[in-house]
Amino acid sequence: MKQRWTDYAILIIAAFALWQAAWYLAGSEALTPPIETVRRLGVLMEGARFWEHARASGVAFAFASILALVGGLVLGIAIGANPVAHEILTPILSTLYSIPKIMLYPVILLVFGLGLSARVAFGAMHGFFPVALFAIGAIRNIAPVLLRTGRVMRLSRLDTVRSILLPAALPEIVTGLRVGFSATFLGTLMGEMFASSEGLGFMLIRAMDIHNVPDIMALTLLAFVIATTANIFILAVEERIHSHGA
């Protein structure tokens, strides 16, 4: 574990060095160097508008996550537990998952208008499918012998779900939640970029429109740091659950 942290430190330093080198090559028209980007982020964070946008993003992301995670889990477990439904519906879900949902932004705008619900819908529809598909996989991959054991012990339906189904499926479900989290995050940001008038994604697209390179870099860095931190955290939980099961 200690070596891991040293390696992370080396990685960050190497990334900054590469970034600095890229700046020397491409120039300030294309990107800003690392130190200046961090400084710019600090300046942005002092403004009151920034926190308004950040709060708007946070609210949209929270709603979108709840919808995607709960909806995806319920549907995924229902389909996973029913072989007929699985055979018919899973291919439809995986096709919908792989379709570029970004092209639907005009539809979302027309249906929901320029508000919170549009951003929530955009985020949720990105996260929903991976969560559902991982949940289906999790239930389908449970060793049949576990369920047979449950039947031999005459467990009730509820007890079977609680003491067999959930523990056995948990590791893969957590993986699905992590992927769903990432997709919802991306979806919310994209929704804000193309279908919103507030939020960090909106700040980003506005910076892009007026070619404000320091702001683009600072906001992207922020999004990347948030996503990576969250992923490292969920990954640690995941590793724990996986090793617990073994």
Partner: protein
């Protein structure tokens, strides 16, 4: 279940008919969505009549194709290198995982500064978005090659090259296929998002123009086209993937 494909078709057809019905009786108003039948008519009409249709469709299609290629081949090679360096792989893992929670196309304006407003920017955009999926899939693919295959290669005294080409590459194919499918999807997103933002040609640009002009029929015709295109590519690749999987894991 005897005919899952027929059931699927029935479900999709039912959903389309439901939308058609809701549009026709006015529960969904025309500004929000035109009936599916009119989407098809709009699509056919523009493919026959609109002078921009084929050049723009070709431009998008070509850019996606090149971007996919540029994510698959370098992605595979980078995957090989990273797989050989476990420590590098361990630290890069969270970066790979969080890569797809950040809209990489925010760098599109920076690409425009470097390449100009042209296909090169869009292609690099699509490739940047697709490549990480291929790198991750390559890592998984090599991990999943059964150990015993390596032993067999040693027993029959294959050279390292022969082992790589005749045993490792074919054995890794099923998971590489997953990576290719994801690389296509992400390349599509990258290219089309770029066209939404700034482009001189392409279906994404036409979609934005139609939306801005309140030309709902054209807009839905184009969405239908992208939807069908993406679905067909995905289903074909999925079939291929399933077939390869079966061949390798039959035993």
């Amino acid at each position: 279940m005897k005919h899952p494909a027929l059931w699927r078709l029935a479900i999709v057809a039912g959903a389309v008919l439901l939308i058609e019905f809701l549009c026709r009786i006015g529960i969904i108003d025309r500004v929000t969505m035109v009936p599916p039948s009119e989407m098809v008519v709009a699509l056919v009409r523009m493919s026959v009549g609109a002078p921009w249709f084929w050049p723009d469709a070709w431009s998008t299609f070509r850019n996606i194709g090149v971007a996919t290629f540029l994510s698959i081949v370098p992605g595979f090679l980078i995957g090989l290198i990273i797989h050989a360096l476990p420590r590098l792989r361990a630290v890069l893992n969270p970066v790979f995982l969080s890569y797809y929670s950040v809209p990489t196309f925010v760098f599109y304006p920076l690409l425009i500064v470097i390449f100009g407003i042209n296909s090169a920017s869009l292609i690099v955009m699509g490739a940047m978005f697709g490549i990480v999926a291929m790198v991750s899939a390559t890592l998984v693919a090599i991990d999943r090659i059964p150990r015993v295959y390596g032993k067999v290669a040693r027993v029959i005294r294959l050279s390292p090259w022969q082992t790589a080409l005749r045993i490792q590459l074919p054995a890794a194919t099923p998971h590489l296929m997953t990576g290719i499918r994801l690389a296509v999807t992400y390349s599509v997103i990258g290219v089309i998002a770029g066209e939404f933002i700034i482009a001189t040609a392409g279906l994404g640009r036409r979609l934005t123009l139609a939306y801005n002009d309140f030309d709902t029929a054209t807009m839905y015709g184009l969405i239908l086209l992208i939807f069908i295109g993406a679905a067909i590519v995905n289903i074909v690749l999925q079939r291929l993937e399933g077939r390869i999987h079966k061949r390798w894991y039959r035993a």
